[in-house]
Symmetry: C2
Subunit: 203 residues, 2 copies
């Protein structure tokens, strides 16, 4: 029997990416104090890449240790994504007003999405991957922005950039550079490659 | 009243991309003798880019002229994608056996997807875009391939490469380079940009 795959994320799009690729897996996410980790690391001068990596690891380890405590073996996938603009790290906006201000500040500028991806097994990390993508937000009008926010509703608070690139968020951009799956929050091809080397999906 | 947008394609993924981006449009596709156009152009020594462009134009013009004949005005989007490997142009496989042979021939090699995108209005082309993406197929096993073909069924005959990159086809690849939407067959960001300049979607 092959080792089960567990996605330690409540993100709908990460689940959709893995389902789309035809993977057989379960979802089990457990709370992690992301703000505490992030702020402690920022205080220590950590770089955004290190923070995304640490958060992905924390999510994977949290679930992996829980399963370990129950005597269950699994490959647990943890993922995190941070946004960087002008050298500053951004959290998910807490509400629509913050999302609006955030998007206005991104207008006409480039930002980066940095993704951490970690697989844990038996309470320890066994694989990790980092991705970086660049996105240019176009000079949209405030009328456009208000219609966009109205259409997206609470969904704008579920991503660091206040957009679903796979949805109407695509209308915010003039140009993007980098892997699409990484923009969405899960670097699928490297992950598939690792899962094949582990023999948990057919090669 | 803004000019309506018509997608002149029966492709499910092209419709999904446009719906995902929140566009308001209708689908109306009319048959075009793609094989005749392609073979005539190949006989004339046309390059793959020219063929993809001509096919996209033919599809857009066919529908645009039909609408014109009814006195209806619209921006009609035509799209085509061709696959090139080792300098040879490939059509969609006609059946599963051809898809199997095609995929085996692509194994361990790079191929390109070349996309043509044309907008027509009043029976004439008014905008066009070309995209080129590179994809590397990994050294998959025949067991993997047979399971993949079984799972995908007739869907393998609906794309030039015999894969849905947005689905289990992702498991065929070691690496891809280029815009995700273009891989799927519709260069969304340039198209949105054009539609904004025309004032048919909010900017």
């Amino acid at each position: 029997m092959t080792t089960p795959i567990i996605l330690a994320s409540g993100s709908a799009i990460r689940r959709e990416i893995m389902e789309g690729a035809g993977l057989d897996f379960d979802v089990l996410s457990k709370p992690v104090d992301e703000a505490a980790i992030k702020h402690a690391m920022l205080d220590d001068g950590a770089r955004p890449r290190e923070i995304a990596d640490a958060l992905a690891e924390a999510k994977a380890l949290r679930v992996s240790r829980f399963l370990e405590s129950q005597g269950r073996r699994a490959l647990v996938i943890g993922a995190d994504q941070v946004m960087v603009m002008d050298g500053t790290l951004f959290d998910k906006p807490v509400d629509r007003a913050e999302a609006r201000a955030r998007l206005l500040s991104m207008r006409g500028k480039r930002h980066e999405l940095i993704g951490g991806l970690v697989v844990a097994e038996g309470g320890a990390p066994v694989w990790r991957h980092m991705s970086e993508t660049k996105l240019w937000v176009r000079e949209f009008s405030e009328d456009f922005l208000d219609a966009y926010l109205e259409r997206e509703g609470d969904l704008v608070t579920r991503s660091v950039g206040a957009y679903r690139f796979e949805g109407p968020g695509a209308q915010l951009f003039s140009k993007v550079e980098g892997d699409f799956f990484s923009i969405l929050g899960l670097a699928l091809l490297p992950l598939l490659d690792y899962l094949r080397t582990r023999g948990v999906i057919p090669s």
